[in-house]
């Protein structure tokens, strides 16, 4: 694949998934000159966090989250495309149609690497559903033309079940960019970041944010 122009596609369902889960890795790719596009499934309009102190409500949340996403994208120097689904409903969408939608975008962008959630280990149903749809979408592409798919696993039991991840990135060199990207998601991240700051910097949570790890998905016919 080295002769091809690389393009990283990050496919997650909510504004802020990219910042918490992959913004260090995204920064690494950007420093290597690789364009990055975030396909964001929904606007997270059913989120529970309304800012701390509260400044949003159920009907204004999507406006805030859209602006926050654009700010995070500017911080990370990436493109954003909205897929237009509604928060919490991805698992109920017709799965063939969802996969086809993703396949078209993947081919349009000539993606060489995709980052998405590990189906079954994403904790949030939207994470699992979109990860599953990405697998299905890539399976629709002829072997040999398929991008690599890197899976982000979140659930507490993931390492016990899946073993050591294939990629483990220490993203300390990109920490400032990651923190700025997370903080851009003001309605969601403020309480959480304050919590982290209060904690010892050696805490498990803090360390987890400084490492990003992924499993390479093996397609049967690769």
């Amino acid at each position: 694949m080295n002769h091809k122009q690389k393009h990283l596609l990050v496919i997650f369902p909510h504004p802020d998934d990219e910042s918490f889960g992959a913004s260090g890795t995204i920064s690494k790719f950007r420093d290597e000159g690789v364009p990055v596009t975030y396909l964001c499934g929904t606007l997270g309009e059913m989120g529970r966090n309304m800012g701390s102190p509260v400044f949003a409500n159920r009907e204004t949340l999507y406006n805030f989250r859209k602006k926050e996403l654009n700010q995070a994208a500017r911080n990370l120097d990436i493109n954003v495309e909205l897929l237009g689904y509604r928060d919490k409903t991805l698992e109920f969408e017709p799965s063939e149609e969802l996969a086809k939608h993703l396949k078209d975008r993947i081919e349009l962008h000539k993606a060489t690497t995709i980052i998405t959630h590990y189906p079954g280990y994403g904790v949030h149903p939207d994470h699992d559903a979109l990860g599953r749809a990405v697998v299905k979408a890539v399976e629709m592409i002829e072997p040999g033309f398929r991008p690599e798919v890197w899976m982000h696993a979140i659930s507490n039991d993931s390492e016990k079940d899946l073993g050591e991840p294939d990629f483990i990135f220490d993203i300390t060199p990109y920490w400032e960019r990651k923190e700025a990207a997370i903080r851009a998601h003001l309605s969601q991240a403020d309480g959480m970041m304050n919590l982290i700051e209060e904690q010892d910097q050696a805490s498990e949570h803090y360390q987890r944010l400084k490492t990003e790890q992924f499993y390479r998905w093996i397609f049967p016919t690769d």
Binding site: T42, R48, E59, N63
Partner: protein, 124 residues
């Protein structure tokens, strides 16, 4: 949103009575409840743009938060734990209850026009 003033909200509830209105009703404890605490359960429900026509509605104080009940010809709409409200620029009555960290736990909203459904363009 601001703290519910019972008499103000009661008047808005009265204004929507005997009209075809759209309801957004929701309760949630978040998608990560059992991720952060394995003893917890994830519980939630929402209905968006249910069209109803209520005979009358009432807001009741529980000392700290409020319950709202809307009486339909064939049933009820009910929400507990409401603490904040807003009558927004689109003429919608938004009510919600938040936990100590400001996270939404329950919402009941009433509108004469359907609530937006898609991740659509910024309307403001």
């Amino acid at each position: 949103m601001k703290a519910i003033e019972q008499s103000v909200v009661q008047e808005y509830i009265n204004k929507f009575a005997n009209k075809d209105v759209y309801i957004h009703l929701e309760t949630t404890n978040g998608a990560y409840a059992s991720h952060f605490d394995e003893k917890a359960y994830n519980v939630g429900a929402f209905i968006r743009n249910a069209q109803v026509n209520y005979q009358h509605g009432k807001i009741v104080s529980t000392g700290g938060s409020f319950r709202v009940g809307l009486k339909l010809d064939l049933g009820w709409v009910y929400a507990e734990g409401l603490s904040d409200f807003e009558f927004d620029e689109h003429g919608r009555l938004l009510m919600a209850g938040h936990d100590r960290e400001g996270r939404l736990m329950v919402a009941l909203e009433i509108s004469e026009k359907p609530f937006t459904h898609e991740a659509e363009e910024d309307e403001s």
